[in-house]
């Protein structure tokens, strides 16, 4: 009998585990080092096969595969059958190892200026991580588990997940996590090799930059999804799952900056290695929190405590091993030359310090309720009031430094010309805060600080962008920093200037909110491919002129049965008018929640700018590498490190 694609997929997974074992074993003996690259290539290709088999099962609705039967349905649109592969626990872990496999493929095939032994050690660490996750897949959550007999129809998909924003949120985030795994593997290899210096930083930085760009976009996509899909009107809830993604991002941001110091000044070696390990630890911790159901969350859809234990053991084993290697092998030399406070590296150190403080706040704030309940049985909530009060001052401080840092020179502690350069940002910042106070009556200190910091950073970043002699690296920095300024402005303005009303009105009636008049024209049933809904028609006018028509829905999905709210959203200027339809009260009145959210899109556009900045910087880093290669190739001075056989 010819094996079915699903069986071939399952077999590929086992073979990939064998390849990962070879990768892990290769660096142990010099004779085996040559096996690392072919094993990594095989590992990547086998995972591609396994993933293709699973996609095939979803596409043809092969309900003999348990995962397909539980999570898909013949009535499901094609796009969501494709994305359905990862919209569940087993499939998302399969996607995770696939991306890891592709990353291993890239490490195996890319140039490696640090030598073949170093490459083998990097691939070895990747192999160990892959082995752990493949064991998790094969023993604790086999995606290819079969059903016999196969059911005639699938059980659908969580309707909240049938959404473009969420469909592409996990893969984006996973690329980011895997990028951090590669940085981790490079750090472990560096520790084993004792080769920690500018060359290592140059080889690692593209991976960190890539990971950071994807993490940024992944978090932004998740936030955007929560904003328009959950229908709560918010874009960030300081929810455990959001925090779980934010923590590796903060570590990656710190790493992105400290690795620059290592590259330029050959300093902060131990610290940078520690951050590379921390970035990986926190992405593992994030996976663990999301998948174990340890903390209740609005985003946790697939939870299972026994799998949680497996993930926890994996987390402890991998990071414990890395931290032990760090303790034993971290460079014994001092961190290099001392820094001047007003040098570029001095500000970058303070930046790292602030980012670590933010990370500590998010980490402690997320786990504190659980710890306290275990300690004395008291149930507390740590919510937005805590996180806003503690993080916003640090973010403002960070933004101020971000405006200054790029203008400072490396090494030297001179500040000449700095005050002239910072005059304009300072003036614009003061003016913006003043305008907020005078024109919009915003008097909250944090809001005014937020606007001022955003204006300061935006102007400073634009100055950086317009300065003569623009390089890829500087353009990347300027764009990413400008993105941060734009996001801060969006977050501050949409919060401080937001207006909301929660009313209960009959058909034909309306209400007024900050210059808008909202009328409930109609509530009518509507039907979609796999849902029915009640849809309200709300017409919004301003000074008698129509502005928008909002159609929020209260949806009921058929398989599985589930009710969701679909917000009615219309752009207004650079913000949104946002409406949610609530329940009828039985006497002909409908509950309507309506918000005016100025500038809220800036939050996500800022994130896009940040990721764009990272891509530009990545281009610069790769180009720089190519330049260095060409220079080396021309007069051929003996290279410090052997070139890889290509």
């Amino acid at each position: 009998m010819i094996p079915s694609p699903a069986e071939l997929g399952h077999l590929s997974l086992w073979l990939a585990a064998a390849a990962a074992l070879v990768m892990a074993a290769a660096p142990v003996r010099p004779a085996l080092v040559g096996l690392a690259r072919p094993a990594a290539v095989a590992h990547g290709l086998l995972l591609l096969c396994a993933y293709a088999a699973m996609t095939h099962a979803f596409l043809v609705s092969d309900f003999s595969v348990s995962l397909v039967a539980t999570n898909s349905h013949t009535a499901k649109p094609l796009l969501y059958r494709l994305t359905g592969v990862w919209a569940n626990h087993e499939g998302s872990m399969l996607l995770w190892v696939l991306i890891l496999g592709v990353a291993g493929l890239a490490v195996a095939l890319a140039r490696m200026p640090l030598g073949e032994t170093f490459r083998a050690r990097t691939l070895g660490s990747l192999g160990v991580v892959a082995l752990g996750f493949l064991a998790f897949l094969l023993f604790a959550s086999n995606p290819f588990a079969r059903l016999d007999p196969a059911p005639p129809e699938g059980m659908g998909l969580n309707p909240l997940l049938q959404d473009p924003g969420l469909a592409f949120h996990p893969p984006t985030l996973y690329v980011g996590y895997v990028g951090l795994v590669v940085a981790f593997a490079l750090a472990v290899a560096a520790l084993l090799d004792g080769k920690v210096g500018p060359a290592w930083a140059r080889a690692t930085r593209p991976w960190v930059t890539l990971a950071w760009a994807f993490l940024t976009m992944g978090i932004a996509l998740g936030s955007w999804w929560a904003y328009y899909e959950l229908g709560w009107g918010g874009w960030w809830f300081w929810d455990p799952v959001e925090n779980a993604a934010l923590m590796p991002w903060l570590a990656a941001t710190a790493l992105l900056h400290s690795i620059r110091v290592l590259e330029t000044r050959d300093a902060l070696r131990n610290w940078t290695l520690m951050l590379a390990i921390a970035g990986f630890t926190f992405s593992m911790l994030g996976t663990f929190i999301v998948r174990s159901g340890l903390l209740t969350s609005v985003h946790a859809f697939a939870v299972d405590p026994t799998r949680g234990l497996f993930l926890l053991v994996l987390l402890l084993g991998l990071t414990g091993w890395a931290l032990l290697v760090w303790a034993l092998r971290a460079p014994k030399v001092a961190e290099g030359a001392r820094f001047a406070m007003t040098s570029r590296e001095g500000v970058l150190v303070v930046n790292n310090l602030l980012l670590m403080a933010l990370l500590a706040i998010v980490f402690i704030g997320t786990l504190y309720p659980m710890a306290l309940e275990a300690w004395n049985g008291r149930q507390i909530s740590v919510g937005p009031p805590y996180f806003n009060a503690t993080t916003v001052p640090l973010i403002v401080l960070l933004a101020v430094l971000m405006g200054v840092g790029p203008f400072l020179a490396w090494k030297r502690g001179t500040t000449s010309g700095l005050s002239r350069r910072l005059l304009l940002p300072g003036l614009v910042a003061t003016a913006s805060a003043g305008a907020m106070l005078a024109l919009f009556g915003v008097s909250g200190l944090l809001a005014l600080l937020g606007v001022a910091a955003s204006a300061w950073l935006a102007v400073a970043s634009l100055q950086l962008l317009l300065r003569r002699g623009l390089t890829f690296g500087r353009a990347g920095t300027a764009l990413a920093h400008l993105g941060v300024a734009v996001s801060i402005l969006g977050a501050t303005a949409s919060g401080a200037l937001q207006r909301e009303a929660l009313v209960s009105i009959p058909l034909g009636d309306g209400f007024a909110l900050s210059g808008f008049t909202v009328t409930l024209d109609d509530v009518a049933p509507r039907a979609g491919p796999n849902w029915t809904a009640l849809e309200a028609t709300l017409s919004v006018t301003r000074d008698g002129a129509p502005v928008a028509t909002l159609r929020p829905q209260s949806r009921t999905y058929t398989s599985p049965p589930m009710e969701t709210t679909e917000a009615g959203i219309a752009m207004w200027r650079a913000g949104d008018l946002y409406a949610v339809l609530g329940k009828p009260d039985g006497s002909g009145r409908w509950q309507v929640h309506f918000w005016v959210k100025p500038l809220i899109h800036f939050i996500w556009w800022g994130a896009v700018l940040m990721a764009l900045g990272a891509v530009v910087a990545l281009g610069g880093a790769l180009r720089l590498g190519a330049l260095a290669r060409r220079r080396r190739a021309l007069p051929a001075p003996p290279a410090a490190v052997p070139l890889p056989a290509e």
Partner: protein, 135 residues
Amino acid sequence: MSGRVALAALLLAAAPAGASASEPAAVDPALGTTPLADPALEAKAMRLMHELRCLTCQNQSIADSNADQAEAMRALVRSRIAAGEAPEAVRADLVARYGDWVSFRPALRTDTLALWAVPALALLAGGLVARRLFR
């Protein structure tokens, strides 16, 4: 400032629990879905409602939720703010009934001291580590 507010909440919570129970403020159920006429009072109520946690939903404030119980709690908050009660007194009363869980703003107490001290401690620890980097 948040610390002081939390401290005030703590002091109020320590007041005799029977005090408010003996004279329950009349709650107007319509206020669950109707804003207060006075915008200043409504803003006050809204700020508090955003910091109170809905009991029947996942991680959602009563201002954002359309659950029945959130509506009842909104009616209670608006009625008592309209009757002239301070937001922190209303928060303290709800905390006295549901425990600290109902407030998204953790009170400053001995067992939450570590939580509120995190930013300062983290900066201090980081500063000590970073100090030897500078000349």
